[in-house]
């Protein structure tokens, strides 16, 4: 296999043609767009000290070459559309093409955010209805769509919790967070000035009410908890846990990153959650975009509704209006109204599925995860025995005698044409391989993935060197990340910037 890989990687032929940086395709005088000038000049409209000429280093490339450049780059990606993408905790489900068509309807795409409300009634109604639909799925009382992504939703939620306590003259300083939580949880809490106190889960990774009772006190502002947790296990004591937190005057932040396991199964509003964020780019099928844009609406119970970001959409006669209607609002977290284009996509998805379809999606996602768990739990070590929800966590423990580790398994999967699971997360599991198949995959695809995982386990015993060399069928082999971080090269620079021009800007 590795021999074939080498010949494929000469990058002079076939599907792996080399593609230089766009700057390296640059030829002086080329342009990819014809810009008509009304008249020459215009520079003198600005005082000399503010004028900027052409920016040195910007590409000079014709349109066909630009198109070819980015088309070729696209072919160097595996994606959820091309490939099974079992990246745990990321919910890489199918992104319906109709969502893309809807977001591009001119009445949405060309709408300016400062448009007077009565000329944007369709957008306001869509947003209001989306808020109501998210409230129904989650059992929360009110929703704001403003946060731009999951982590900003967390930040919004924690700012609201802080405002709630301060309103009561309460200066609690601590947030409880299980060790299995996403890193964004402690980071978001810290951004609100909170100290983080780590909670340990039990042997099943589940947070027990007893453990919370031991940790709780008047110093605790909130508990941040993910349900199902990052091991894919439902927090079965969640209601009792919430009771303990509330009993001590604290609030419960529920991380909705794993909401794809909950539709029609359990509503956070009924678990005692006071606030949660929705990741529209996970549960509600808006594309991940290679790292965004996401959208991270927050849902709250009545107790926090007054603190939601302003402005809010209100009904005024027969019209929708934006109003600063939350009296104790934390303010804004983002300009304008949030990632509206993502709202159109999520709305389109929910309308397409309906209530029954959403519930069916969750059931199929959980079925797929349990099927992979059942098929793989002999070959790989299962972190937590028993049923899982939308994802399962395996480890490399069974491969220990072979010297093959989780990272090697992940890299070999790439040669088999699969994206890798999330690896080495959650941190509480050594050598974790976190697998989330979503509802979008057929039994046939899951079986192919099982076969690949089994083949890798066999190969680990028979020919571990082949795995250490993986991946071989990719445009590049394993990249030296440690060296990249030691001497970071973070941008292309025009050749030999002048000594007196440290920014390399040249103009």
């Amino acid at each position: 296999m590795s021999g074939m890989g080498r010949s494929l990687r000469d990058k002079q032929s076939g599907l792996l043609l080399d593609e230089p940086l766009i700057f390296e395709r640059s030829r002086s005088g080329q342009m990819g767009v014809d810009v008509a000038m009304d008249a020459d000049g215009g520079e003198d409209l600005l005082p000399e000290e503010l004028r900027r000429g052409a920016i040195d280093g910007m590409p000079e490339v014709s349109e066909p070459e630009v198109v070819r450049h980015f088309l070729r780059l696209s072919q160097w990606n595996l994606s959820a559309a091309t490939t099974f993408y079992p990246l745990g905790s990321c919910t890489m489900k199918y992104n319906p093409i109709a969502n893309e068509a809807a977001a591009r309807i001119p009445g949405f795409a060309n709408l300016h955010p400062m448009t007077p409300d009565d000329m944007a009634q369709g957008a306001l109604e869509l947003m209001f209805e989306l808020q109501a639909m998210l409230a129904e799925v989650s059992g929360m009382d009110a929703v704001s769509l403003q946060p731009a992504a999951g982590a900003q939703g967390e930040l919004t939620g924690m700012k609201m919790i802080r405002a709630y306590h301060r309103d009561r003259g309460d200066t609690r300083r601590t947030v409880l967070i299980p060790a299995s939580a996403h890193g964004t949880n402690p980071a978001s809490a810290a951004l609100c000035g909170y100290e983080v106190q780590q909670l340990e889960g039990n042997s099943l990774g589940v947070v027990e009410a007893a453990a919370v009772r031991r940790a709780i006190g008047p110093h605790v502002a909130a508990l941040m908890i993910t349900n199902p947790n990052t091991l894919g296990i439902f927090e079965r004591e969640i209601a009792q846990v919430a009771e303990v937190v509330h009993g001590a005057g604290g609030l419960v932040y529920l991380d909705g990153a794993n909401f794809n396991a909950l539709m029609g199964v359990a509503k956070p509003g009924h678990m005692g959650a006071d606030v949660l964020q929705f990741n529209l780019h996970k549960t509600f099928s808006t594309p991940h975009g290679g790292g965004g844009p996401g959208a991270g609406p927050v849902g709250v119970r009545e107790v926090l509704a007054d603190y939601l970001p302003n402005p809010r959409i209100v009904r005024d006669g027969d019209r929708w209006r934006w109003r600063d209607a939350a009296p104790k609002s934390i303010g804004r977290v983002r300009s304008f109204h949030g990632n509206f284009g993502m709202f159109v996509r999520a709305y389109t998805y929910i309308k397409a599925l309906g209530g029954d379809g959403l519930m069916r999606a969750t059931r199929m996602a959980v079925l797929n995860a349990n099927y992979l768990r059942a098929r793989l739990q002999e070959t790989y070590h299962l972190a937590v025995k028993g049923l899982c929800m939308h994802e399962c966590v395996l480890t490399d423990r069974h491969l220990e005698p072979t010297g093959i580790k989780t990272l090697d398994v992940a890299k070999r999967l790439l040669d088999h044409g699969f994206y890798a699971p999330t690896i080495y997360f959650p941190l509480v599991v050594a050598g974790a391989l976190m697998i989330e198949p979503t509802e979008s995959e057929s039994l046939e695809t899951l079986d192919q993935f099982v076969a690949a995982m089994e083949a890798i386990a066999r190969e680990a015993r028979e020919n571990p060197d082949a795995i250490h060399a993986a991946p071989t069928l990719t445009p590049v082999g394993r990249l030296d990340e440690a060296r990249a971080a030691r001497n970071p090269v973070l941008r292309w620079r025009a050749a030999a910037p002048a000594a007196d021009d440290p920014a390399g800007d040249g103009d």
Partner: protein
């Protein structure tokens, strides 16, 4: 359901492999009382044709989307070449995730590396990150970064002329940040920052001066002068550019002395989309690289010496550093960063220079045409493609324009009581001479 590939038969065989009797058995760990109340009571799902019909019904009620509009104020209509959206619709780009496995994500990684390079050039600084949510949160992250870099200093001096929503986001982000203090510096008669007041406020507690350029009134600030004042007292200068197209014609913040420069990149290849998604551009100097928020892509080599790209310096980030991370940001605006990269690649060095000049020309011609008689230019300092007009009666002007099918601009009184008689008007390369004349007729 068209998005769910499992057949009834495959469901049965999978349940057998799992060793349970029915789908409900998969949820036996979920307490019964939660399951009992979990029904999702929403209308039945629709076929694609019906779904899109509903969406079109809503879209057509956004009549603002087809009106002749001179709205700016942080979001701008610019021409987007057809190739940009076509490439954005490559599912290999839009349905991938954050490039955790670099060997099968080189497309995304190389594009982000190109994005970082172009943003650094645009802003005139050494290094740019892989994007922030928008211009406003980028400005807030820049403020937090300034506080990190300037350890013993806790005061941030914010220009009153900075986009009001950026100031609001900044205030929200600073809630709970220990000892941080926001103070406001006003604007002078010409629309630029009140530099005498700024000089007074600058002391050894000042971590940074945060200024919009062009500011909310469309006025280009004298960043070089601000930087000279700030440097004398050891404060950093943070600039926030809500109209990134200005960077095509106006000397870069970095070259004028900004230490951190952020911008809203929507103007560079991204539709208005009611204000989002856009993209926050964020750049700084090399010496501050380890304090940067957000993702960074760097060059790397594989075992055979081939060049590739990886996420790097991740020890700043939340998934490694957790509560000690430089920011909580994870998902950012990857696909929109790609749109900006494709746009800038197409426009290129010369196209960008030209489109900058066209904006400058048309806006200045429009201002000359509009500022006549009772209507006056409110400020005298240089501007790019947006300007403030003093009119006799803002409401009456807006109404007259509306009757003629025109959205004439943004009334400034909502945020600035002292400018209640002012209208903010944006003119770009998308506005024809005839359209500008139509506006002039109703404003006069």
């Amino acid at each position: 359901m068209r998005f769910l590939p499992q057949t009834e038969e495959s469901v049965r065989s999978m349940l057998a492999a799992i060793g349970v009797d029915g789908l409900d058995d998969l949820f036996r760990d979920v307490p019964a009382e939660l399951r009992a109340t979990a029904n999702v009571d929403l209308a039945a799902g629709l076929p694609e044709s019906e779904t899109l019909r509903r969406l079109r019904e809503l879209a057509v009620r956004n009549d603002g989307a087809s009106a002749l509009s001179f709205l700016g104020a942080g979001a701008y209509p610019h021409f987007v070449p057809a190739a940009v959206d076509n490439l954005l619709q490559r599912a290999e780009f839009y349905s991938a995730y954050t490039p955790y496995q670099p060997e099968v994500s080189q497309g995304t990684l190389q594009a982000i590396f190109e994005f970082q390079s172009m943003v650094a050039m645009l802003l005139g600084l050494d290094v740019a990150n892989a994007s922030m949510y928008d211009g406003a949160s980028a400005a807030a992250e820049a403020a937090l970064m300034a506080l990190r870099v300037q350890r013993k200093r806790e005061r941030l001096i914010v220009a009153r002329s900075l986009h009001p929503q950026y100031r609001q986001v900044l205030e929200t982000y600073l809630q709970g940040v220990r000892d941080a203090e926001l103070v406001e510096v006003g604007f002078a008669a010409d629309g630029r920052i009140d530099s005498a007041a700024l000089e007074q406020m600058l002391d050894d507690r000042a971590a940074a001066v945060i200024v919009g350029t062009p500011n909310f009134f469309g006025v280009i600030e004298d960043v070089a002068a601000i930087a000279r004042l700030a440097a004398r007292r050891g404060a950093l200068v943070v600039t926030a550019t809500a109209e990134a197209m200005a960077l095509a014609a106006v000397r870069s913040p970095g070259e004028l002395g900004a230490d951190i420069a952020v911008a809203e990149g929507q103007s560079l290849g991204v539709p208005l989309s009611y204000g989002g998604p856009g993209v926050g551009l964020f750049a700084a100097r090399d010496r501050h690289v380890r304090s940067l928020p957000g993702r960074l892509v760097g060059e790397a080599l594989d075992s055979d010496g081939r060049r590739g790209y990886v996420l790097t310096l991740a020890t700043r980030e939340q998934h490694i550093r957790r509560e000690r991370a430089t920011s909580n940001i994870c998902t950012n605006q990857g696909l929109i960063a790609l749109a900006v990269t494709v746009y800038l690649s197409l426009m290129g060095k010369e196209g960008l220079r030209r489109v900058g000049l066209v904006n400058l020309q048309r806006a200045h011609r429009a201002q000359a045409l509009l500022a006549k008689g009772a209507v006056q230019a409110r400020f005298t300092a240089p501007f790019f493609n947006e300007f403030s007009l003093r009119v006799k009666d803002v409401d009456a002007t807006l109404r007259r324009a509306r009757d003629a099918g025109i959205v004439a601009g943004v009334p400034l009184g909502e945020w600035y009581p002292e400018l209640a008689d002012c209208l903010l008007v944006a003119v770009t390369e998308e506005h024809s001479q005839a359209e500008i004349e139509r506006l002039a007729e109703v404003v006069a």
